[in-house]
């Protein structure tokens, strides 16, 4: 029974999550594009040259946040950068991507990015639980942060648990094992993940993937959509 559930989470649910993610985002963007344009400028002044570049900088460097909430900004940058590296690190597991040297047993970032993300999420949670930010927070805000926190914690546990076997010259579940699992997903061959992922902390992997699936599925329907909308919005402000 448990094995069936694990299989459902690790294989079909991943496809479902990816489909919801893509269809959800496409739907959301389509809805916006189908709406009539506002018709007049929404920019603010003073006007500066190279507004496109500035909108880009606003999006990726958040100078407004740096100016008005500098500590928060440090954690925001840390979180977003580390998150980006985590995405790259996970993609790197796919055989043949090769961001890290082929013979390295480590994921991109070597566990440090996971720690960085976790610290940032903890800061976000603490910040949200105090003062006026607490008053503007909704249940959904906390649930999202908790989802991210457990996602990061289980991810961290996996890489930590893997290092136990390092003394014997290898990880319990090696990068190659994860690579085989991802390759199988990409081949749609519905192979049993248990056969590909040895190790007693398999259950943690299952939980991690389950949370990741959830994350992908809520992505288009929550404020995380700002990933895609931050740039167009900043262009509106810059004019």
């Amino acid at each position: 029974m448990a094995d069936t559930i694990y299989f459902l989470i690790l294989v079909p649910m991943v496809y479902l999550a990816a489909a919801v993610f893509v269809v959800g985002i496409v739907g959301r963007v389509a809805r916006i594009l189908a709406s009539p344009p506002h018709g007049s400028t929404l920019r603010i002044f003073p006007a500066r040259r190279a507004s496109g570049l500035r909108a880009l900088a606003d999006t990726f460097l958040m100078p407004q946040a740096r100016k008005h909430t500098p500590v928060f900004w440090v954690f925001l940058m840390l979180f977003h950068l580390a998150f980006l590296l985590l995405i790259l690190g996970h993609l790197d597991l796919i055989p043949g991507v090769g961001l890290m040297p082929a013979d390295s047993p480590h994921m991109l970032g070597g566990g440090a990015v996971g720690v960085a993300v976790t610290l940032a999420i903890l800061y976000f949670l603490l910040r949200r639980m105090q003062g006026p930010v607490r008053e503007i927070s909704t249940l959904g805000d906390y649930l999202l942060l908790l989802l991210l926190l457990f996602l990061a914690l289980t991810g961290g546990m996996i890489s930590w648990a893997n290092s136990w076997n390092q003394a014997n010259g290898g990880f319990v579940i090696s990068k190659q094992d994860f690579g085989a699992y991802l390759a199988s997903l990409l081949r749609f061959d519905f192979a049993s993940p248990r056969d590909l992922l040895p190790g007693s902390h398999y259950i943690v992997v299952v939980i991690h993937v389950f949370l990741a699936n959830l994350f992908l599925m809520v992505f288009p329907f929550t404020k995380i959509i700002h990933t895609f909308f931050a740039m167009p919005l900043n262009r509106l402000r810059r004019g």
């Binding site: 009539p36 344009p37 018709g39 007049s40 603010i44 606003d58 503007i136 909704t138 919005l233 900043n234």
Partner: protein, 417 residues
């Protein structure tokens, strides 16, 4: 609330859902970076006065009726029902927000709270709960556009009565009207407010510059924009656009009224004429040497300038007033923050017209402190709303300044050749 009314309000809300509005409504991360941006919150720290809380009221309605997730999971704490209690809240958020858009300079996404409050204001109109005074004033403006033929004579007579005062400030050429009206092919159509303070100094300045100008029959102020009624806003601007087109003027200069300027400059599309602010015009006259001013008039005065939100941050008229003031005053100091980041005076969004004195005074404490910190004795500005609000603040907080329109300072200092 009756189902029919609810449907009507949902329809009104839908009419506001442009691409940009949807982006604004979809994106807020509730990060709270904008919390400190609002003068109302900075002056009286209550969460309901933050930009994010104001917008959240509208977002919750939006999610409830326009988003699948809100329809499916209304219990997640991110939706509210459209009922009487919600409308109360909508009223509070809409008419405690001056639409200054200062929060846009804090938000990492630049979310436009004023635009979101446009939904709030439209819902209130739909529910017949908007401030009636604003609608009445908007209707009066529109009616004036319709009855212009009958009222033209009375208007012209009223204008003639003001001419003596213009001449007191500037003796024009003999035989030339001090306040020309209905001049075909004029270079500038000046759109004033209903009040001689908005006509006399400007007339003196334009006469001094030898401008070929004409006074508009209409007042610039757009109460349609204050009350958030898109049709009335359009109709009110249309009167002026038609007049300018008919006269074939080159430029339409909007008097010192921030909202009138922004609406006409940035929200009415392209025209066969240029839209400028009267501040631009004064700056140009000074730069080109068409008028001269006597700095001695402000000797011993320290002058500071309040950037009206709709002129500066939302309109782009930022350096021109400073250049004018540097010509006028030896001791000009900036308040901090300034330009695009200036604190709102607390009088915008229709609040001055509505009265609301108690809230206006309390919510603008930071403005009074900011002005006081400059040590200025003259507080110049270029917006009718700001002028009224700053004068009230001056009295309420004992700021000890003289609040003056830029045009008034220039007109007082004109040097007769």
């Amino acid at each position: 609330m009756e189902a029919a009314l609810q449907e009507k309000l949902k329809g009104l809300m839908a009419s506001k859902l442009s691409r940009e509005m949807r982006l604004y409504l979809d994106t807020c991360a509730r990060c709270g970076i904008c919390i400190e941006a609002c003068h109302a919150y900075a002056s009286m720290p209550e969460t309901r006065y933050t930009a994010v809380a104001r917008a959240e009221t509208i977002r919750r309605l939006f999610r409830r009726y326009f988003k699948a997730e809100g329809r499916l999971l209304p219990g997640l704490g991110e939706t509210i029902e459209l009922d009487d209690a919600a409308l109360e809240k909508v009223h509070e958020t809409a008419y405690t927000c001056t639409g200054c858009r200062r929060c846009m300079t804090y938000c990492p996404f630049g979310i436009d709270t004023q635009m979101i409050q446009g939904i709030a204001k439209l819902l209130l109109i739909g529910a017949d709960r908007e401030p009636k005074l604003l609608t009445m004033l908007a209707d009066m403006s529109i009616a004036k556009g319709e009855t212009i033929r009958d009222t033209k004579g009375a208007f012209e007579q009223a204008v003639r009565n003001l001419e003596a005062e213009v001449i007191e400030k500037w003796r024009g050429e003999a035989g030339r009207e001090a306040i020309p009206v209905g001049v075909k092919g004029a270079d500038v159509l000046y759109v004033a407010l209903a009040g001689k303070h908005s006509i006399i100094p400007a007339a003196a300045i334009m006469n001094a510059a030898g401008e070929k100008w004409s006074l508009s029959y209409f007042e610039a102020v757009n109460f349609g924009a204050f009350v958030g009624n898109p049709e009335k806003t359009r109709e009110i601007s249309r009167r002026i656009i038609d007049e300018a087109t008919e006269l074939g003027v080159r430029e339409v200069a909007i008097c010192e009224c921030g909202t009138a300027y922004r609406v006409m400059k940035h929200q009415t599309g392209r025209h066969p004429f240029e839209v400028i602010s009267f501040v631009d015009l004064m700056e140009r006259y000074l730069r080109d040497g068409r008028i001269r001013v006597d700095r001695a008039k402000l000797d011993g005065s320290r002058v500071t300038y309040h950037d009206p939100c709709q002129m500066a941050r939302n309109g782009g008229v930022i350096e021109e007033p400073r250049r004018v003031l540097r010509e006028l005053a030896g001791d000009f100091v900036e308040m901090r923050p300034n330009r695009g980041e200036n604190w709102c005076c607390g009088g915008g969004g229709g609040l001055v017209a509505m009265g609301e004195k108690d809230f206006r005074m309390k919510s603008a404490r930071v403005k009074a402190e900011q002005v006081r910190a400059t040590g200025a004795t003259v507080l110049a500005t270029a917006c009718e709303n700001c002028h009224t609000q700053l004068s009230d603040l001056n009295e309420h907080y004992g700021m000890g300044v003289r609040v003056a329109f830029l045009s008034q300072l220039v007109a007082d200092a004109l040097v007769q050749a």
